[in-house]
């Protein structure tokens, strides 16, 4: 039991240390403001040209709130892949191995702690900006709860993806390219800029089946249209994806560890 208790403590420590950098985190919100303003203009023009009240089941206000959530999620991603890459190359990972702590779990919890702080800051700013641009959205406490419930596994899933990219450092000269591709795929297939409803049917189905939609699109959609069946659907998708990712990572990690023990890291 004690073995498991230390991880939330690690996460808490990470969250607290990130609170200290709040100033730095806040300096990044200028970008958030700008991008949301651009989206407002883009969609305002699009709605006007389409002469529509709703597109894909979203009003202009809902569209902006949807984008506020997806941007808050994407921009709160900690630099996990870079950290893992660094730990692999500097041999810090081998040092971690002699601690009574699992390296992947240690990273998972520090990441979640950091992400929580960054997500809270981002979403507060995004909410303020969108309120200013298009006004508040109708919300309820149960609805908010549904949204919040969809987040932990979404963040965990994104962590696993990043961790996998970072482990690439065992075999690749450089992982920044891979990371760039991963994050771009997450943005586009995850529906960061456009709700999946507005895409051609075949593509929409494909994107929805892939795990990226349950990291970004899922929670954002639940924020705008909270309902329990959708939540259960997303949780199920997230669970399956987490399981698959975890299995892949376990296999890759084992392979990597064999390398560490063979080459001394």
């Amino acid at each position: 039991m004690r073995f498991w208790q230390k991880y939330p403590a690690v996460g808490l420590a990470s969250a607290r240390s990130n609170l200290a950098y709040l100033g730095e985190v806040t300096s990044r919100v200028i970008f958030l403001g700008i991008i949301l303003y651009i989206f407002l203009r883009l969609w305002k023009v699009t709605f006007t040209q389409a002469a529509a009240q709703q597109l894909g089941g979203f009003t202009l206000e809902q569209m902006l709130w949807y984008l506020a959530v997806t941007e808050s999620i994407m921009l709160s991603a900690p630099r996990v892949a870079q950290l893992v890459d660094e730990d692999v190359r500097t041999g810090a990972l081998s040092v971690q191995l002699i601690r009574p702590m699992s390296y992947p779990l240690y990273r998972l919890w520090t990441t979640l702690g950091e992400r929580l702080v960054r997500f809270l800051v981002n979403s507060a700013v995004a909410a303020a900006v969108v309120c200013l641009l298009v006004g508040p959205i109708k919300w309820s406490l149960p609805g908010l709860l549904i949204f919040v419930l969809s987040l932990p596994l979404a963040f965990a899933l994104d962590f696993l993806g990043n961790f996998l990219v970072g482990l690439g450092a065992f075999w690749l000269e450089d992982t920044t390219g891979l990371l760039l591709i991963y994050s771009r795929v997450t943005m586009i297939m995850g529906g960061m800029l456009i709700p999946l409803e507005l895409l051609p049917d075949a593509i929409r189905t494909a994107f929805q089946t892939l795990p990226f939609a349950s990291m970004v699109y899922g929670p954002a959609k639940l924020f705008v249209h909270p309902d329990v069946p959708t939540l259960l659907d997303i949780l199920a998708r997230q669970s399956v994806a987490v399981l698959v990712f975890a299995l892949v990572i376990a296999a890759v990690y084992r392979l990597a560890m064999r390398r560490v023990f063979a080459n001394g890291g």
Binding site: R28, F31, I38, V45, Q49, T176, L180, I181, I194
Partner: protein
């Protein structure tokens, strides 16, 4: 004249050496350049999906949008594959690392900017030219004009990086601020300025001069408008001149050593 050719030869030498140094880690260089190439393709493909649903955006078609991405990416890529240090200027200044460049008998700014090549910028440049040729399929006249605009956009990007980077002379370490400002410029440059109105539109010609690198070149290519072309080039040149002036004013502060990091 002799001076200009001497600097061109210097630039060629640096480009060659930078490339050679990058190729020492061929895998890393190629994977970063390729990743940036694919990244841009992914964005353009994404906008393809958008335009599939909404074919015309205030008179702009998919075709115009791809031209916009091509000219911005090629301009940005050209700028930072030759003058890669432009992006690192804030940290070079804040850490007092200009010293090394000041020991050489060359104009500090151009010499210093040549000192590095960005691998991802090479991917950007390759993407810009290739996608323009492959998707837009221009005639010779359009292609030449396009190439000229990539050069003017590169001037604007270098000038803007220098301008924002030089803030570090005045504000100490202004890395975060100059980065945000640059992000704003890059982000705005990949959207058609027709989306914006009033004050914000004015902003795109002044504080965040994104119109000169993307919007105006595309308008000029669309209608072969000399006025738009002249404005794009003049604006870009103005940014470069302004950036160089702010740098040189800042450099006298550096030389007089008001920076904390310069003690010792």
């Amino acid at each position: 004249m002799k001076r200009i050719s001497s600097y061109l030869a210097l630039a060629a030498s640096y480009f060659q050496l930078n490339l050679k140094a990058q190729l020492e880690y061929r895998g890393a260089f190629l994977s970063q350049a390729l990743a940036m190439f694919l990244n841009n393709i992914a964005w353009v493909a994404f906008w393809g999906l958008f335009f599939h649903r909404f074919p015309v955006l205030r008179g702009w078609t998919m075709h115009d949008f791809i031209t916009l991405w091509a000219v911005v990416a090629a301009g940005f890529g050209l700028a930072h594959s030759v003058f890669g240090n432009a992006l690192l200027l804030p940290s070079l200044i804040a850490r007092g690392q200009l010293d090394a460049w000041l020991l050489y008998p060359r104009a500090a700014l151009p010499h210093l900017l040549l000192g590095r090549m960005s691998a991802t910028a090479c991917g950007d440049a390759a993407f810009g030219y290739l996608v323009y040729l492959a998707v837009v399929k221009p005639d010779l006249q359009h292609f030449l004009l396009f190439t000229a605009f990539t050069v003017s956009a590169a001037m604007a990007f270098v000038g803007f990086s220098v301008l924002t980077g030089s803030l570090s002379f005045y504000l100490g370490n202004a890395e975060a601020l100059s980065e945000q400002w640059r992000f704003a410029m890059i982000t705005f440059s990949t959207y058609p300025a027709t989306l914006f109105e009033g004050t914000v539109k004015l902003l795109l010609y002044t504080l965040i001069p994104a119109a000169f690198v993307g919007y105006l070149p595309v308008e000029a290519l669309r209608s072969l408008s000399a006025a738009d072309a002249a404005l794009a080039v003049t604006g870009s040149a103005a940014i470069l001149v302004l950036g160089a002036c702010v740098f040189h004013l800042g450099l006298t502060r550096y030389e007089s050593g008001n920076l904390m990091e310069m003690r010792g």
